[in-house]
């Protein structure tokens, strides 16, 4: 991996709206239909209008103004240890100044229960080698909990957590195949990179059919960088980046191998499944 000298990621707090100079991202509440369930959701959106999928932030395009369109304050934090959290007051905004290390992928998440369980979590990607780059944001959902939170009620954390929807980029199979960042489309001999961030509360493990991938980053399994694997754990909160070089054409599934996570509302197939399409 041709790593460049790392620069520290800097995040500063500002409550003054500076959207005229920088890109903005909005925190927007709404609702989506996942695998037959309607769930309440919070999303990072590229406009004040609610969108079903969180917007991935490309760090080199920052700084970002985060505008909070929700009715409660949110506290955001990058995945790095020691980075200070950022308060984004309800109806207000804060600025994220991100100078990300190159060749690294991170998470931006809400520290509140409301933000966590409603899916206010996204990927922040630094610059990587110049290959096509796909982004898989993994998450799981308990619909009833989302509606409690939408009604500004607390969810009892001592109750068993039983998610019934499992998503890649906030979509479950087969809709994942319509998402150009989830459905890998490449040609024999080409190289693609895939950043994977697990925003959920449970570990996941992805199995690649047809290919082994080289692990370029594994924030919770640092000793595995350089390993060649077909089954890749992604612990809760972890960011993993893999390099895929294809040597055969065809359509090859990639899916969670915790097989409850390949269901929609408990029915197979669904959940965390996508496809690698390789043209000859």
């Amino acid at each position: 991996m041709g790593a460049r000298p790392l620069t520290l990621m800097l995040i500063s707090l500002s409550v003054k709206l500076t959207a005229a100079q920088v890109d903005s991202v909005w925190i927007v509440p709404g609702g989506v239909v996942l695998g037959g369930d309607t769930i309440a959701a919070l999303r990072f959106c590229d406009s004040p209008q609610f969108q079903a999928q969180n917007e991935t932030l490309e760090a080199w395009l920052g700084p970002w103004v985060v505008v909070n369109g929700d009715s409660v304050d949110h506290v955001l934090q990058m995945s790095e240890e020691g980075e200070p959290p950022i308060l984004v007051p309800a109806g207000g905004s804060s600025t994220l100044n991100m100078a990300m290390p190159s060749n690294s992928t991170h998470r931006l998440r809400s520290l509140t229960q409301r933000g966590d369980l409603l899916g206010l979590e996204t990927m922040v990607r630094g610059e990587w080698e110049d290959f096509p780059h796909y982004e898989w944001n993994l998450n799981e959902w308990d619909p009833s909990a989302t509606w409690s939170l939408a009604a500004l009620e607390e969810v009892d954390e001592t109750e068993p957590y039983v998610p019934r929807q499992f998503t890649i980029n906030d979509l479950n199979f087969p809709l994942t195949l319509e998402d150009s960042t989830a459905h890998v489309q490449t040609s024999v001999g080409d190289v693609v990179l895939i950043s994977i961030a697990n925003h959920g509360r449970m570990d996941q493990v992805l199995h690649f059919h047809g290919f082994h991938v080289e692990i370029l980053q594994a924030s919770a399994h640092e000793n595995r960088v350089g390993w060649s694997k077909d089954t890749v754990p992604v612990k809760k909160g972890e960011c993993v980046v893999v390099k895929l070089e294809t040597n055969q054409s065809g359509e090859y599934p990639v899916h969670a191998h915790n097989l409850v996570a390949v269901t929609n509302a408990g029915f197979y197939p669904g959940g965390m499944i996508t496809i690698i399409t390789v043209e000859p």
């Binding site: 082994h212 089954t231 197939p269």
Partner: protein, 380 residues
């Protein structure tokens, strides 16, 4: 898309003529039973060799040599469609065993899966039809690709034996009522196994080691749990491979194995070692410890020469297949179940023949008191 060929292999045929088939044919069935530690007979689906005529949990070990051009023949006499997904072997789309992108093998049909075993290592195979259900019902097994020179990979360490250890679990309620088991999202396994065995059953999986050369533990998980193996320092455990590829060797005292992962760990305890290692099963959602299984490891010098004779043998039935009567050489107390787990006989069997003339055709499973499981076929 491959063209399926329907062969003349019928269910009854499995019991008779398949011993002449070469290479061996793997088959799938949905009428097996598996005995839990407490003696409970649990329905399973799974794979077996047609020459044996019964399925096992896990399925038979598929063992190949590096570089083999493998042609795996598969027959499905079961009532539903199945496939074989060759997990980790990077086969092409046609042989991938995924119904939507490859093909399924319908009831009564046969096919072959073809691939080159390009890399030595530890792999899995499993059905990829309604995978969440078919896997927990038992449709999985291990694939082991080894080298003729005994090295675990080219220029890698030479081992004196390979010990396959396949971790898996199941939810009894699902196996007892697979049709009514939907939805799957709240599946919570309650039986935890190593090579299909739990607790005291694992005494049969005791690993004998030698201080002269390392033993390769071929660890794989078809479980719904995360497996955490804890290796005492006396085992001198070293991690060498994952998912059929070499990794930088490192001494380890614990190893997490997620569903679908495989590892090769070499152990080489000193002479006189008498111990083992724990395998903890942790739930994937809440990390709760569900079960701890104990795998025994002993040095060869402790091997009692009469150990085998101390074990109760299984019941040797003859004739097998039987049509009217069946009997055994030695008088034994035993139980016999049909393929649905119904008790067909419980009593003393020996010189007096057991009348099976009114029993339906099928595979029957017996277990003698204190002995092992054996099976026979009734065919009229």
């Amino acid at each position: 898309m491959k063209v399926l060929c329907v062969t003349c292999l019928t269910f009854l045929g499995i019991s008779f003529g398949h011993a002449q088939l070469s290479p061996p044919v793997l088959f799938s069935e949905m009428n097996g039973i598996h005995f839990l530690e407490d003696g409970t007979a649990l329905p399973i689906w799974g794979y077996g060799w047609t020459t044996d005529g019964f399925i096992t949990l896990p399925g038979p070990l598929l063992h190949y040599q590096e570089g083999d051009d493998v042609v795996l023949a598969f027959h499905n006499p079961s009532p539903e469609s199945h496939t074989i997904h060759l997990h980790g072997l990077d086969v092409d789309q046609a042989n991938d065993g995924v119904p939507s992108t490859s093909f399924y093998v319908a009831s009564g049909e046969s096919t072959t899966y073809e691939f080159v075993a390009t890399h030595p290592g530890t792999f899995l195979y499993h059905c990829h039809v309604t995978t969440t259900l078919h896997l927990t019902m038992g449709m999985y097994g291990m694939v082991l690709v080894t080298r003729s020179d005994g090295a675990i990979f080219e220029n890698g360490p030479v081992v004196n034996q390979d010990v396959p250890l396949l971790f898996s679990d199941l939810e009894m309620a699902t196996n007892l009522d697979p049709v009514g088991s939907f939805p799957f999202h709240d599946m919570r396994p309650d039986v935890f196994m190593v090579n299909g065995k739990s607790g005291s059953q694992l005494e049969e999986e005791l690993i004998w080691t030698s201080p002269e050369a390392p033993t390769a533990l071929r660890l794989a998980s078809a479980a719904y749990s995360r497996i955490r193996c804890s290796f005492p320092s006396e085992l001198n455990a070293q991690l060498w491979m994952s998912d059929g590829r070499a990794v930088p060797a490192e001494a380890i005292d614990s190893l997490d194995i997620y569903p679908g992962e495989r590892f090769t760990v070499l152990i080489q305890p000193d002479e006189g070692y008498d111990g083992g290692f724990h395998a903890e099963f942790l739930h994937m959602i809440d990390d709760q410890l569900e079960s701890t299984q104990w795998v025994q490891v002993k040095d060869n010098s402790l091997h009692p020469s009469n150990l085998i004779s101390l074990q109760e043998p299984s019941v040797d039935w003859y004739p097998n297949p039987a049509s009217d009567f069946i009997q055994t050489e030695v008088e034994r107390n035993c139980k016999v179940w049909d393929s649905w787990g119904r008790l067909m006989f419980d009593g003393l069997i020996g010189a007096d023949r057991l009348d099976v003339s009114t029993w339906p055709d099928g595979v029957y499973t017996s277990r003698a008191a204190g002995g092992k499981v054996s099976r026979f076929v009734v065919s009229h």
